[in-house]
């Protein structure tokens, strides 16, 4: 029985990443800023947000951050993780929650900064080549949006990649530093 290409790829992200992203450790840090827009809606809940890294043309997918209602009793907040649907498909559904260093609380509207350093923690080592940082937000009783930020590794210090969402996400940037 043969599974879809996509499934095989996403079924073994850890193994694939080890091959895809292995390389010499470089002290490179990505400061990612994700703006969560303030919305004038009757019922507002902070969105679930997933941030992950893809290496185009390879099966490598690595979840970097997942902000969700992680502190509800019986882990009830995990019920809605699948609404972050693209992330759920490429990575989330293979994970056990909570994920150390990846999962955290939902964030308030405003600019939320999170940093990843190559060779450390969730980012691990990155081999040279093209990558896409993907940010996806899904809000309870609200909408869902996905923004992609392509970049090349290794980056130049001071380099900034910007993109912006239209509804559930505001301005998003990656600032690279030593």
């Amino acid at each position: 029985m043969q599974l879809s290409h996509r499934m095989i790829l996403t079924g073994a992200p850890a193994v694939a990443l080890a091959a895809g992203l292995a390389g010499p450790a470089a002290a490179q840090t990505m400061d990612v800023t994700v703006e969560i827009p303030r919305l004038g809606v009757a019922e507002y809940h902070r969105p679930y947000v997933a941030i992950w890294l893809e290496k185009p043309g390879t099966p490598a997918v690595r979840s970097l951050s997942v902000w969700y209602d992680f502190d509800k009793k019986n882990n009830e907040g995990t019920k809605w993780l699948r609404d972050v649907r693209q992330w759920w498909r490429v990575s989330g559904r293979t994970l056990q929650f909570p994920v150390d260093g990846v999962t955290g609380a939902t964030r308030a509207p405003g600019a939320n900064k999170v940093s990843y350093t190559a060779g450390k923690g969730v980012l691990g080592n990155l081999s040279g080549g093209d990558y896409v940082l993907v940010v996806e937000a899904a809000r309870e009783v609200g909408g869902r949006e996905l923004v992609r930020l392509p970049f090349s590794w290794p980056p130049k210090p001071g380099q900034i990649v910007r993109a912006a969402g239209k509804s559930e996400l505001g301005a998003i940037s990656i600032a690279f530093r030593k």
């Binding site: 599974l3 079924g11 995990t78 699948r82 693209q86 559904r93 293979t94």
Partner: protein, 304 residues
Amino acid sequence: MKTRILRTAAGIALAAVLALPAGVQAHRQWMLPSATVLSGNDVWVSVDAAVSNDLFYFEHTAANVDNVKAWAPDGTEVKIENAFKSRYRSTFDVHLTQKGTYRIANVSDGVSGSYTLNGKEERLPRGTTPENLASKIPAGATDIQTAESNNRNEIFVTSGEPTTTIFKPTGKGIELVPVSHPNDLVSGEAATFQFLLDGKPAANLGVTIIPGGIRYRDQLNQIDAKTDKDGKITVTWPEPGMYWLNASIGGGREGGGAGGPGGPGGPGGAAAGTPGAPPAAAPRPAGPPQRRASYITTLEVLAL
């Protein structure tokens, strides 16, 4: 005379009943799960089950779910909970305590046919199965003609990562083998499924796929596919949503070879009778009973 016509009409209606699962005479059967892609630690699905013309609106009759069973990824049978039959639909729950893909299925195997006793042709009664066939044919019966029907109406739901353990074919009737996993479908992508008939690739099998939401559009937007020599079809999903898939042989249902829409599987109701059968007032159905098999599933296609 009047009495005779009535009795014969009842006989024909019964024949139609025999051919189809759970006493359903026509229209479209379906099961609609509350979700097919699920996350969380205490995962449940609620399923609506009905027989209707429009998909997926419960506007005709509730499906009989007494025979519905569910299997967990490890192959164990799990309970159908909170089953209830209302006027237009039945509903039940399945608690997904394991990670992986579950199968929820209503499978019925029946035998239709006839025999002659004391010079009179009699139909096999409703509820005849391969197992009890012998007991349904009285001593002295001659000219016995029977045909098996295997009907499968099933859905798949996945908690966490999709698995394929529950797709092991039974070798009976029409079955789906996931080249693409049925709980990993996304709009704009192509998906391939293989169909088996009695465990072997079902080549040249008509497969009908209809997106839900019929009530609020003018066209069915039906996708008609034919399986290749390996029993495979490939479909590119035009939009996200729930899709009804049907394949059948021998019954003239949607997706079937003979008959097709407008036959007994299409709109027409109980009076439509068996394919090739004369009008209800005619004394006797023509031809031997046909081997039938039908397959129905509901597929959820997510947005990219």
